[in-house]
Subunit: 470 residues, 2 copies
């Protein structure tokens, strides 16, 4: 990676990018939008386009977009930089830093060896163990980002202990498969439990405005059938879509048991890590009722690991990749939030909804769900889309004759499972994406196919089920 | 750096820290202060105490303080995390990242060889060249942080080319001397020129409320004599206080010239770096009249260097140390700002000022200046202290009979030169501190002595001069 090659392909792509940007910037501003919100859209769309076409890396694209947004007075510096202080962004950063301890202390290796000794006969067995573990812990984690922070180091250790590294093009496939299983698992378990992600209560609040009361139990009743079908089939489907290379590992359980006995009893640092994570997780579970801040809890956990010497400032100094993620995530998160606040997202939703008038309710229902899912291509945050579009879409669906519970649950569940549609579609993805086990193209392909699979399952199996129990 | 040693010394220090924290926390809250502002002070003071006594590194201390501040509801998460989005903090981070290009492209090496070929006969010659260069460019840099971003890579290259590294305990002394000269130079040149730091216009605005008009010219007239005396003597003083080890380098100029001819003409990356920095600096100079944001200009510069391939995402991924700085700076900057906003700083200033009533004006003047300088021990930002205390101190001084121009200029100049009193006393210090050439103890010792030296020069030489021209 020195000078980027300046081939004809690259020049052509750059011309396309400049064409898109200036085309949008100088296009007539649609009625109902401010000039600033349209210009912000032009910059945001160009930045995403540059990344999708591999013209610039995410970091460069985000940095350039941020500079342009401020220097053209499209956003004030306070608004453009605001997301650097967003607790969700800071939770992602802190989760990155904390998760090192699970690997460094050896605890991750021990847990992964333990999992392998039970399920390790095959890669598929490992994948199912990720989904099952996540399903069981999800109701206690009101933040899927935080849950990702717990799952990631275990998955990383699983991949590394199977000899998979991001640099070896053949061996990285196993790690890539497990990493994507982690992301997909977070997406579907967030749909299963009302308390598995912060977006669920937010969306339920919007549904309440349509006179619908959602509880922990009614949510679970509606979600369980389609979610469990996805959980049962998805590891298998991903196995086909992204063959992990290494498939049968018949000696793995025995080897793992031998390794475990070689490791001996848990070390002091492993104990400290285990206790710190337990306290952190307990804190996260109690965060909602006691009004605790998730990020502050994670910071306290990281400080504890530093004070006890499990992690050192030197370890932190190795985390330049986290800084790169911090910067691009904060910039794009901030721009997406501003697009929403400036009414751009709502405007797009309304435009699309207007076109549906006159359709039968089942046709309108399917069209709305599919559109809602596909629109997530443009969103960096699940909560942003929920806040921007869920209310509008629910409104249009109900006006078209779709039963309220069906429309509401379909949109609420979609707001969780669509998170894998792009690598930036949910902040919990980032930590898995940053591991380097998956290429950008693979992430988009697997993300789209997984999201389509979930959409089909929820439409075909979920719809009659929700109509029956709803 | 594995487990910290748990000796009696450390246990004693920890006990002191806990005693201080709980002592302050549960102490009766002084009248006129809210409970939150007093608790914030208890946390902030304990965090600084922990660093000064080397109980925790800055990073750990800041992280712990931030977690406590939020979890005890002393500050809302939005306020506690707010400084992560502060443009000054982000400018420091971006300046760190941009400055790599000067080193990586070879431009820093070329400039330093050029400087050595003229002044390199002695280490003292190099130090003077730092001060002179900074003095000449300072009026065009409204941000001393940005100026630090330009000076730092050149000083780093000077140190490295003289064989000085932070790890070698003997050879690091040369680098440490030059690094401290950089910090001290930024402090004194900011006092010399009205436009050399953003705090100057802010302070001048406060003086205007006392009916005093300050222009570029009147400022320079008042500052030139004491500032030039400091610039003339300080490199020599620091040379005594922190002998650089290597002193005479008679062959250095010739060697440098040979190296320069070996380097050949400037490479493509050097040209890009030089042009990018020139445009960035021009942008910074034009920032004030054209309302441009300094941080966005720096981000545009960094994006340019990334797009042209001078820097890559891989280079960014090596910058974990920058992330460490980002986190502690944002936390402490935010807490200091909140202490100010909550009225704590103003309260302390008023308390101290009350004690002066009844003194003769020269005595009150000296006492106020010395107190104002020493109080900077507790501030992470120069602007914060200017906003919190300059108005109060000026008020008290004028009421005690000190002539307005004398009191105003003395406080305004102090607001620049006191920045080196602690490593965190000015955000522009951080980049030099993070270079690792100076130990924590050395930074505090040199910082205090340099600040005292400046205070004496400004009181003894500056006072009659300002009275004469003011």
């Amino acid at each position: 990676m020195s000078t980027p090659t300046v081939g004809t392909g690259r020049i052509l792509k750059l011309a396309c990018l400049l064409g898109l940007f200036f085309g949008l910037w100088f296009a007539p501003i649609p009625e109902g939008l401010t000039r600033e919100s349209w210009h912000l859209f032009a910059i945001f769309a160009s930045a995403i386009f540059a990344v999708v076409l591999n013209i610039f890396p995410l970091f460069t694209s985000a940095l350039l977009a941020c500079a342009i947004v401020v220097l053209t007075n499209t956003l004030t510096p306070a608004k453009a930089f605001g997301a650097f202080a967003n607790p969700v962004v800071l939770l992602v950063v802190t989760a990155f830093l904390v998760s090192q301890s699970v690997v460094k202390s050896g605890l991750g290796k021990r847990i992964s060896l333990y999992v392998i000794s039970f399920f390790g006969r095959s890669t598929l067995g490992l994948a199912y163990s990720i989904f099952i573990t996540d399903t069981l812990i999800a109701p206690g984690f009101p933040s899927n980002t935080a849950r990702g922070g717990v799952l990631f180091p275990v998955i990383l250790a699983l991949a590394q202990n199977s000899g998979s590294t991001p640099d070896d093009d053949e061996k990285r496939r196993l790690g890539g498969y497990l990493m994507f299983c982690g992301m997909a698992s977070l997406a579907i378990t967030s749909a299963l439990w009302f308390t598995a992600t912060s977006g669920n209560p937010v969306g339920a609040g919007l549904a309440a405005e349509k006179g619908m009361t959602i509880t922990f139990g009614s949510w679970l009743l509606a979600s369980c059938v389609p979610c469990l079908v996805v959980i049962a089939l998805l590891p298998l489907l991903l196995y086909r879509l992204h063959p992990p290379g290494i498939t049968d590992t018949p000696e793995a359980p025995d080897n793992a048991r031998r390794e475990l006995s070689k490791m001996g009893p848990m070390s002091r640092h492993e104990w400290i890590t285990a206790v710190t994570f337990s306290v952190m997780v307990t804190g996260w579970i109690l965060a909602a009722p006691y009004g605790l801040n998730l990020t502050a809890i994670a910071m306290a956990g990281l400080a504890t690991l530093m004070i006890t010497g499990v992690l050192t400032v030197d370890d932190m100094s190795q985390q330049g990749g986290t800084l790169v993620t911090f910067i691009w995530l904060a910039v794009l998160f901030g721009m997406s939030g501003q697009l929403n606040e400036m009414g751009f997202m709502g405007y797009v939703g309304e435009r699309l909804a207007v076109g549906l008038e006159g359709l039968s309710w089942p046709a309108a229902y399917v069209a709305l769900v599919v559109m809602y899912v596909l629109l997530h291509f443009g969103f960096v945050s699940q909560n942003a889309q929920v806040l921007a579009l869920l209310g509008v879409f629910l409104d249009v669906g109900v006006k078209s004759g779709v039963p309220v519970p069906l429309m509401a649950y379909a949109l609420l569940f979609a707001s969780s499972y669509f998170s894998v549609i792009t690598p930036q579609g949910g902040s919990q993805n980032i930590i898995f994406v940053a591991s380097g086990y998956l290429r950008q193209g693979e992430l988009y392909r697997l993300g789209l196919l997984t999201t389509l699979f979930c959409t089909v399952v929820f439409l075909v199996i979920g719809t009659p089920w929700i109509l029956w129990v709803g």
